[in-house]
């Protein structure tokens, strides 16, 4: 049986204060060079929520601007305003920081997030009014505590402060006095990841048009680890987030692989559905505070806004073949193996052309490739170039080497078979998956037939291996042949009713 993409959720959370206080570029600088010009300058480069809403790539991430429309806008994008500044789009939303801090409090079930009662009172209604989130968090929001208590926790008990508008409004407490795995710092990162994952899940459920109870299994693929000193990566973000999102019929687990995590997780999910183990599986991931403002030094030096000011989150719902939605092809999967090697040529061959060879396809038989979809507005000023474009050049060059393309066609290849990057530089978030929502839409509309999602991960960052990693898979048009075998109860009832009617009619005729 095939597994199909039933729906997706894509969310951003504007967190300017977390850029200053939780991004590792900034926290490292504060230790190494506390009086640095950069730290003094950075606050002046933070964007307002309104500017974040009208930023073209953000509107693309939530589905209001298509990648084609974005590609038609001349870069850079940070000095232009999108014609809309909508908070909500067909895939999700861009949540403001104040509501997110309350969502974090609602997602904390160990009484660790302490917000001042004034702050809660000022913003509670806004969060409850959110039709996607409100019903899930109602009854989970605490009234808050006094500012004296917050200050005491921060000053005397190593709590991580939470700011809004550079004003202290709350904190995240230690979950253990000694265990660094449960420190306030780690708890903040984990609760942020969980809360942004919950937000993406709620949007995905709504967008897929399914009942929450239909979700049987959830796979989380963020890059955080939760556990304690005896099992540092014990998990399970997936189930923790499913609880808050109200997926009462689901269990789940965490799948990790650095930035390749989402592609691995989707392959796992699609296989569980294809095997008939579960009918509906969700893949989800929240965002990462550590990466906020990661390239801030370059952005500030070049007089740009601090563009890495949003957490990202996404969720994809896979179900058994409904005969309509695009399928994930599990027969022709690309994978980087232990023996592949780490040169870009070896990596791209393993991920792209090996799968195509198995499928008997040429490079240009894939309408759109979605590799690392980092927003070039962010990466180019930081000297990292245009990451998706670099990938398309490599895929095209491989096409030339294989004889699928003429060298003269190379220059046009990225535009024809590629996309512009529109995802925040949140590691796992830009890795192939941002396009799944648009791929589903474009395949359903008939504008494309096939897309390849490519996830790559830098395993060496964990210092356990020098190996690189990645997997890829093809999403293709549903030919309508694979619909679940058998007939539904309604169909059986209809058939019986018709037979009875026919029988009655024949009796009357006699």
């Amino acid at each position: 049986m095939n597994s199909v993409i039933k729906g997706t959720g894509y969310v951003l959370v504007h967190t300017p204060d977390m850029v200053l206080h939780n991004g590792t570029t900034q926290t490292t600088e504060r230790i190494v060079n506390p009086e640095s010009e950069y730290l003094k300058e950075l606050p002046k480069h933070l964007r307002s929520y309104e500017d974040v809403l009208s930023y073209y790539p953000n509107q693309t991430y939530i589905g209001n601007v298509t990648p084609d429309e974005l590609a038609a806008v001349e870069q850079p994008w940070h000095d232009k305003k999108a014609p809309m500044n909508d908070r909500f789009g067909p895939f999700g939303e861009i949540m403001p920081q104040e509501e997110f801090l309350l969502l974090m409090q609602a997602c904390d079930v160990f009484d660790l997030v302490k917000l001042s009662s004034d702050f809660v009172a000022a913003h509670k209604d806004a969060l409850l009014k959110n039709e996607y989130v409100g019903p899930a968090v109602e009854g989970r929001l605490a009234e808050g505590v006094s500012m004296e208590e917050v200050e005491k926790l921060v000053n005397e008990e190593h709590a991580e402060p939470l700011y809004h508008g550079n004003v202290l409004v709350g904190c995240v407490k230690n979950a253990h006095d000694i265990d660094v795995n449960l420190s306030a710092h780690v708890m903040l990162e984990n609760i942020v990841s969980k809360a942004s994952s919950v937000l993406a899940m709620l949007h995905a459920v709504r967008n897929a048009g399914i009942d929450k109870n239909e979700v049987e299994y959830v796979i989380d693929c963020c890059e955080e680890a939760c556990g304690d000193m005896n099992q540092r990566g014990g998990g399970n973000f997936a189930k923790a987030a499913a609880e808050i999102a109200g997926l009462d019929g689901a269990t789940g687990c965490d799948v990790r692989g650095f930035c390749a995590g989402p592609a691995h997780a989707i392959l796992n999910a699609a296989s569980l559905v294809a095997a008939g183990t579960f009918k509906t599986v969700m893949v989800t991931a929240g965002g990462c505070t550590a990466k906020l403002g990661m390239n801030g030094k370059d952005h500030v030096k070049k007089g740009l806004p601090a563009l890495e000011d949003c957490l990202g989150g996404f969720a994809v719902i896979l179900t058994a073949d409904d005969g309509v939605n695009p399928c994930i092809n599990l027969e022709y999967v690309g994978r980087h193996t232990v023996g592949t090697g780490s040169s870009p040529q070896a990596v791209i061959s393993a991920l792209v052309t090996n799968a195509l060879d198995k499928a008997g396809l040429k490079i240009n038989d894939i309408d759109k490739y979605s590799p690392e979809m980092q927003n070039p507005d962010i990466t180019k000023p930081a000297g990292a170039g245009d990451v998706p474009q670099a990938n398309y050049k490599m895929i095209g060059a491989l096409g030339v080497k294989r004889g699928d393309l003429e060298k003269s066609e190379l220059a046009a290849f990225p535009q024809k078979h590629g996309l512009v990057g529109f995802a925040p530089t949140q590691g796992h978030i830009p890795s192939g998956v941002p396009y799944i929502g648009f791929a589903r839409k474009s395949i359903l509309e008939g504008t494309i037939n096939r897309a390849m999602i490519i996830g790559k991960g830098s395993l060496f960052l964990g210092r356990m291996t020098n190996l690189f990693d990645g997997v890829s898979f093809i999403i293709e048009k549903n030919e309508g042949k694979g619909q679940e075998a058998g007939v539904s109860e309604e169909q059986v009832k209809g058939l019986i009713a018709k037979a009875m009617k026919d029988f009655a009619a024949s009796l009357l005729a006699e």
């Binding site: 060079n33 040169s343 000297g383 990292a384 490599m394």
Partner: protein, 107 residues
């Protein structure tokens, strides 16, 4: 350059002597190649890592430079690098690398 890699380069240079070390880069852009080359010659220009203020002056090349290409088995180069050679702006990378070597390389 990654802070951990800076530390490893520094340690290797101390262990084997800077004159015996060649740093081989594979960065995708001239600017990034130049930054990495500057880090292992003049010191970390971002003032963040262990090579801040440490001028090792190491020999440093990009894998697409002709001097390096000549050292390879042509088949290995074809299998491992030729695709990237087609993609990268090799001339720009070479000129950046030459400029850094002229300024800061001690060996």
């Amino acid at each position: 350059m990654d802070l951990e890699n800076q530390k490893r380069v520094k340690d290797l240079a101390e262990e084997h002597g800077p004159e015996n070390i060649v740093v081989l880069l594979g960065a995708a852009e001239a600017e990034a190649s130049g930054l990495a080359a500057e880090t292992v010659t003049n010191g970390d220009p971002t003032y963040a890592g262990p090579l801040t203020g440490v001028s090792l002056g190491l020999k440093v090349y990009h894998v697409c430079e002709p001097e390096v290409k000549a050292e390879f088995d042509p088949q290995v180069y074809e299998d491992q690098i030729s695709m990237m050679e087609m993609v990268l702006d090799v001339d720009e990378i070479c000129s950046e690398m030459n400029s850094i070597r002229e300024q800061y390389c001690k060996y």
